[in-house]
Amino acid sequence: MINYFREIFSGLWSLFVGMKVTFIEAFSPKVTVHYPYETLKMCDAYRGHIELIENEEGEPNCVCCMSCVRACPSGCISLTGEKPEGGKKKVLTSYHLDFTRCSLCSACVEACNFNAIEHSKEYNLASRNKEDFHFDLLARLRERNQ
């Protein structure tokens, strides 16, 4: 009989302890970021989709060694390059990234020995159109330079 009442009262007490916790929390400051109105900056290590790195002349660093293509587990990079007349190095003519298949694993960036690709800090990448995720990185580079 005593246990019956003790259980009731200890049970009631535990409820009040819980309510105190939420009461204190109710007067603590908000912790959320109101997303479309405020945004956070991505950290340096953030892995977005890849982006070409340019040299001083605004041309891509890429020498078309194809090591990123080979390193990619999903086969989402395709690039072409050609040797210009009289030139010594290969010049990048197209660099396509199929972002629908990319899993942002960073293998291509690590495979690159010429500091030619990096991760962008872009994360607002939602679209209803699949074509929006086939990036022409060379065109993006040119666009950025203008």
Partner: protein, 372 residues
């Protein structure tokens, strides 16, 4: 205490819980044969998000398979990469620098804390309390921020490489990890006040959802399920790997075999993980995080290799059959929730549906990890 009435064979009905159901945390379906609110028989149907990672492992060279391991378990991805890396390193004989191994353990343990926090919040949400989920997410956010700064991702880390890790940690990370410890301990006290002591919660947990040690053995359960049944088993200590022998921690064991024991085991695991992190930070040696000559092409000698580790969800094992080429001949991923979930069919018999859901919560399910 609650016994269903005797029933005729045609008095039961079949209830489809899932594939989309709030309590199954993903696409899992349980076909329950019910007698009123009592479960007569349950059959779990898995495989809705099966992606055949094992086949991918057979067709890709070793380094390209690394990122798949993060996709198995979206909450505790680091532990899975760790196991895979350890297995391949063992097979190929790659030396890992001490510092890298410490950083791996640091990250795995932080990841374990964050995984358990999500489990805690989601579990209380199964029980109908929504608020603890957001409290645990606040604490988890600190961990994710810390790890994002180093690894570059919040869930699919892909941080561990064969021979080391991709990026060294810096002073800011160490400082924030140290600051996190007292904060997290304070939060844990809050959770205990808000949840563990609560009479409603206790009534739903104590003595409910019996899973016996014998059942654990027959089904190969691990993690909180086994330790909540009084089995003193943790791969980190029973079968030491990595630098765990150098670190101090205890393995919490409760022998209630009920929901409460499994819950308490996981809550104490958070504390122990914090202890490991603290200790690893104290002992962190200097040095490189990748070996001088990290092999680009990995060709383990032909043979059969096995490595098990303790991830956030239990014993994860990688069986690697190599034929000496650049791609594995066979890559078997033994996932812990697979065994834990299998046990549900038998354990939930005779329970009421709400107790069965509470028990399902204590199994700590992550469905992609069952389905692989």
């Amino acid at each position: 205490m609650n016994q269903p009435v005797e029933l005729q064979p045609d008095e039961t009905f079949v209830l489809n819980v899932g594939p989309q159901h709030p309590a199954t945390h993903g696409v899992l379906r349980v076909k329950m044969e019910m007698n009123g609110e009592y479960i007569v028989h349950a059959e779990t149907v898995v495989g809705y998000i099966h992606r055949m990672h094992e086949k991918m492992g057979e067709v890709k060279p070793y380094p390209q398979f690394l990122m798949n391991l993060s996709r198995l378990d979206y909450l505790g991805a680091m532990g899975y990469s760790h196991c895979h890396a350890l297995c391949v390193e063992k097979a190929a004989g790659i030396e890992v620098p001490k510092r890298a191994e410490y950083i791996r353990v640091l990250m795995v343990e932080l990841n374990r804390v964050s995984s358990h926090l999500v489990w805690l919040g989601a579990f209380i949400m199964d029980l109908g309390g929504f608020t603890p989920l957001l409290y645990t997410f606040q604490a988890r956010e600190h961990i994710l921020d810390m790890m994002e700064r180093i690894t570059g991702a919040r869930l699919t880390y892909c941080y561990i490489r064969f021979g080391g890790v991709s990026r060294d940690i810096d002073d800011q990370f160490i400082q924030s990890a140290r600051d996190f410890m007292p904060y997290m301990r304070k939060e844990l006290i809050k959770y205990h006040k808000l949840i563990t002591g609560n009479i409603i919660f206790k009534k739903r947990m104590v003595g409910m959802g019996h899973i016996s040690p014998e059942m654990c053995r027959k089904y190969g359960a691990s993690s909180g399920v086994a330790r909540g049944a009084g089995i003193n088993f943790d791969v980190r200590r029973n079968e030491p790997y990595s630098v765990y022998p150098e670190l101090e921690f205890e393995v919490p064991v409760y022998d209630g075999c009920d929901n409460m024991s499994r819950y308490m085991v996981r809550m104490e695991e958070i504390e122990q993980s914090l202890r490991i992190v603290e200790h690893a930070l104290d002992q962190l040696p200097d040095g490189p995080v990748m070996p001088k000559k990290a092999p680009k092409i990995i060709k383990p000698p032909a043979g059969d290799y096995y490595q098990a580790t303790e991830t956030a969800r239990g014993t994860f094992g990688v069986r690697l059959v190599s034929d000496g080429s650049q791609t594995p001949y066979r890559m078997k991923l033994r996932s812990p929730t697979y065994s834990n979930m299998h046990l549900f069919d038998e354990a939930c018999r005779g329970l009421m549906i709400m107790d069965a859901m509470a028990m399902m919560g204590t199994l700590d399910l992550v469905i992609p990890e069952i389905d692989r």
